[in-house]
Structures are given as C-alpha cells and as structure tokens.
Symmetry: C2
Subunit: 351 residues, 2 copies
C-alpha cells in the first residue's frame, strides 16, 4: 500500500508549488530573504539600511489572523475562486492597520478536499493580488490535502499578517475627545461577514439562485454582488498616517467586521465616550436592503451583523476632517462624516 | 430573522473568549503589549532594553504556517482534543528553528462546525501548552464557526509562528562539508505526518478500533499511540545554538515532516553533498512496524512518508558531535549519530 493510494498526491503538490511560484514571487520586496520553498520565509527588518519605508527606533510587531468564513460557499456556488484570496488578505491587513501598523508580510493556510493544482493557483491569485494591493510580501503558505474534511472541490482558508509600528506612534484611542469626528470609509459590499445570515436569507428564504438578478439589485447578479472582494484600506490609511506624523490627527480606527458598527466602533473608544451617528445618513450598497427586506431582518439586527456600507472608520481631530477627507477622496476612497464623539457609551448613539 | 437563527451564536463566542483568556495570558511574556481582545496582538522587539534573550543588530523575521492534517481525525475518534494544539505549535516552531530563529509568537486559526466554548477551551489548552513549551507568546487567534464546512464536533486548525534571527547567524547549510555528522533527535511517534496512510492501514486494512491494543504495541492503545503529541525541539536546539555562538558547530538542521528523511534532509544540504545513513540503525517507535506489517507498506515508502523515529536532524562539525550529543541528552533528548556527510546527492545514501 502507498501514500498515494491513501488519497494524498505528492506529485500534485509539487506541480502546484511550481504553478504558484510566480504568484508568490511577484509580492517579494527587497526585504524578503531566502528562497521560495524553504522551511520558513525570511524577512529583513533592516532598520539600518532603511529598506523599510519608515525608520523604527522601538519597533513593535503586530500580528493577526482571520479567515473568510462562509463567503467561501458563495465562491463555490459561482465556481469563481480567484478573489476570495483578496478577502483573506483584506480581513487581516485591515485589522492590522487599526493600531497604525504598516503591513510587512502575509502567510496563508489552505485546507482542501482535493489538491487540484490549477484550482489552487486560481485561489492563490487572489491572495497574491491582495498582498500586492496591501504592500505585503507573501512570505509563505501551506496547502493541506484533507479529503476527510472537505468536499473535493471545497476548501477553507486562514490568513496571517505581520506588521510593524513605532512604539510611541501606536494608535490606542486614548486621545479621543468629545468633538472629534468619525469619518466613514465606504465598504464595497458585504465584505466577509454575516454570510451565515445573508446566504440563508437570499438563497433559502428568498429562494434566489446565484445567477438571479433581483430587481432590487438594478440588474446585477446576486451571487456576484455577494462575492465582491473586501476593500483593502491599507494604502489610503498609510498615506494619511504618513502625512500627519507629528500632529496626532488620527485618534483611533476601527475595521468594521462581525458585529458591525455597534460591535467594532465602541471598542476602540476610551471609556465614557461614544459616537453619535446619523443612522442611514449615507447610501449603502443595495445588497443590504435586499437582505433586510427578504429576511425580513430587523434594522437593529442588520446593523449588528453587517457593515451596512461602512468598511472602516477613522476618528480624527475636528481641524483635520476636511483635509483628511479630501486626501482620502484623492486616494479613491468614498468617505463621509459618520458622526461626532460625545460623552456616553459604551453603546453608540443614533440620531 | 436573526443571525442566531442562521446558526451563528455570538454569545457562545463571548463565553469562549472568557474561558480561554487564562490559557492565552499564561503564555504572555514582558514583550507582549496591549490587551487581550484587541484587533491584533502586539509584540515589542525591544532591542534596546534587552527583553529579548539575545541582542540583535540586523534582525531577520522568520514566519511559517502549518496545520495538523488528518491527525485531527484520530483526536475525534478518541474524543480527546486537548493535545492536538501541541502538534499545531510543534509543526510550526520546529520548522522555524531550522534556520536558527528564536520563536517569538504564535497565532492560531480554528474552523469549527459548532462553537462549543468548553471544547474550544480544551483545544486551546494544547495550543497554550505548546506555546509555553516553545517559549512563544500566543499573540492572537481566530475561531470561525462554519456549520456548512465542518461536522458539529469536528474542526480544522492552522497555526502561524514568527521568530527572529540575527542575519549573519542564519543557518543556511552552506558550511556543510564532507565528514560532518548528522545527529538524529528521536521523534515521539508519528508526529503530524502520514496520517492519510496510517489511518487507512490501521483502521481500515487492519480493522483496529482506536481502543484496540495490538500485541505489536506491547499493550498500548493504538489510538493513543497515534495521538502522542509531536515533540517540540525548541528548548534543546536553542540551548545548543546559544552554547556555540562563535564557533559554527551547527551547520544545518531539518525538521522531518511529510516526505520523511529523503524529503527533508537533502533540501538543507548544499548541492553535491548527501548523508550516508545506516538504515534501521536505531530503535523506532513500534507504531511504524505495525503500519509496515499491516499495510503492507514497502520499506522505502515508509521512509518517504513517515519520520521513522527521527523527528529532527542537526548536522554538526565532527569535533562538536560528542559534546552536542551529551548536552542534548542532558536536555532530555534521545539522540544518535544518524550518518556522515559525503559527496553525492541529491538522494540520501543508505548503508
């Protein structure tokens, strides 16, 4: 009896390693050392020679991990797996930058039912795109063939990101004061949260197939709309932080993930402060209206589960609001004044 | 309709976060900053104040990721999930140290069918134990409840480790010379590789149940023997490297994982060199004999799939062999001379 007979194909693994190599190497920066295919990836901090964009005196490493959740099921339904890797990177690097950290490198884990090299390369294309978009080196990864765990054409994925921040520049939210302004950065859609509820409502309650075009979506396919990649805010946020190095214009930041605005914004504010938000004071992607209506889902529950159009929040000093919003728009972000910091909390206030 | 009705229980998540908190915090070192529960974990490099064991001039970060594979199925069969976390940490940190890196921190991802807080705490106990054993801070983690992906009492897990090595001390194997000696460090059993084949042979071909005690195992339960945690070599290897800082006594190292000795040892040797190994020249755990006999599995295939009793290999200069082996034994490792470096390759030579 052989290993191959037991269901694990080492040759397919080797073929995959060759196929994904260019996707990995296109993310390499001069900071990446060592060779593709080693036991572990190596990354020079290189403070002396300034390969890092900024110079660090007292560097703090920041690490986080996240997956994509059941958004993957939508990718399987549409048989389109080349963008969930962008979601995977986004979910991690958008968390990472909240404390002011600059993303350095990323690693991915794929658990698959069957190791089909071309499909793996499609998946890795998204991871590679996300890494390029967020200026992260794809330092390594693992693909585990686990036929007893996953259906042959399905998989789960986990990502890990590491960044660095100068210790005295860590954004911890302690400077937030009443009168500061919460600036919303638009999400691209559902991002990667709430798919348990979204799929149940859209595919079961409403009975849509992934290729259906409900009138509420202006002729767009519902599956495609659900698969739009999570927006990556790294370039925009890093640009703003780079422009306000001395003045502490950016007080705190929140990546709006599971739990929505109520679950993510209060946790980055000091005790005794909250944000007063004009609810529905912005145009949100129509997928949210569709879910609310077809559920039906209570409006409060919608806000607790979904990002409702707000992918990221920057709380900034009043004097910096207009220049920061102008620069964000130059960088291609849609943004608006979400609300103002007030005494209160821990719950958000709704106007 | 609510999120909870769609199968995701946010309250259970909160309960889990409270339950695992002490398991996470016991791994914290003075280098860990920030608080449990933030968007991302923070870790001070702190070169100036020497919180790090060694001082770094030109630090290189090393990152790697791995899972446990289908060893998890054995844990499910025995309903004993409190040690697979040790395997998870081991698979990562044993890779990390091969280039001479000191492990700094670890993050874990758990994809679960149902988020049962007490079971999650059991799983995390193993991760926490592995981190303590390998001097790693458990900086963060993610638990994703994905009922459409995993059976309610099953899960997959991925780990991610980051370490640091001084650039000019990176162990790259380029100094290996004929006459250098490969020292084997004993494995504790199957470790975390080859379970596709091992489970097929033991539970299907041989028809054993996990609680059976085949005579070949001297009265031990076959399931328990298959679940012995992967040995973590961090303390022993770090100790040796710390003792031979100036003299380059340790030339290269290999973690023996999937692919066995033939798949892992040649890749850390320079071109044109190989190791001549006296095959079967050591006592290996009896689980390997059982698999070989019950498969039957060809002896060559056994060496290509399993570690065959060798969990880690250090290639050292001839003059250092005896003192290094003596110190490894003091540190509790079972070790022996596996073979000698010879011209040849890329395949290993067998005596």
């Amino acid at each position: 009896m052989t290993y191959k007979q037991s269901g694990v194909d080492i040759d397919a693994g080797d073929e995959m390693v060759d196929l994904i190599r260019p996707l990995v190497e296109r993310t390499y920066t001069p900071r990446v050392m060592g060779l593709y295919g080693g036991f572990a990836g190596m990354f020079r901090l290189d403070f002396a020679e300034k390969l890092l964009r900024r110079n660090y005196q007292d560097p703090v490493l920041v690490g986080c991990t996240d997956g994509v959740g059941t958004k993957l099921k939508v990718a399987f339904m549409l048989n389109k797996v080349d963008t969930v890797g962008i979601d995977l990177v986004a979910m991690n690097v958008n968390d990472l930058i909240c404390c002011g950290a600059e993303p350095l490198f990323f690693l991915d884990y794929l658990g698959v039912g069957k190791l089909a090299p071309r499909r793996m390369a499609e998946i890795l294309k998204g991871v590679s795109d996300g890494c390029v978009e967020s200026c992260c080196a794809l330092l390594g990864g693992e693909t585990a063939e686990m036929p007893d765990f996953y259906k042959s054409d399905e998989f789960d994925m986990a990502g890990f990101a590491v960044g660095v921040v100068e210790r005295r520049k860590i954004i911890d939210g302690l400077d937030v004061m009443p009168g500061d302004v919460a600036v919303a950065l638009a999400s691209s859609g559902l991002h990667s949260n709430g798919y348990g509820l979204a799929r149940r409502v859209i595919f079961e309650r409403a009975g849509y197939g992934p290729d259906d075009r409900p009138p509420e979506l202006d002729g767009h396919c519902v599956g495609q709309q659900m698969l739009i990649p999570t927006r990556i805010y790294v370039r925009a946020v890093m640009d703003i932080l780079g422009r306000y190095k001395v003045k502490k214009a950016v007080k705190t930041m929140a990546h709006i993930t599971g739990g929505g605005l109520p679950g993510n914004l209060p946790r980055v504010l000091p005790e005794g402060l909250t944000v007063k938000i004009k609810r529905d004071g912005w145009a949100m992607p129509k997928i949210f209206d569709l879910i609310e209506k077809k559920g039906p889902v209570d409006r409060d529950e919608m806000y607790r589960v979904f990002n409702m159009g707000v992918g990221f929040v920057m709380v900034v000093s009043p004097a910096s609001v207009e220049p920061i919003m102008a620069r964000l728009r130059q960088m291609g972000e849609r943004c608006w004044k979400l609300g103002v910091v007030k005494p209160g909390g821990p719950d958000l206030q709704w106007a």
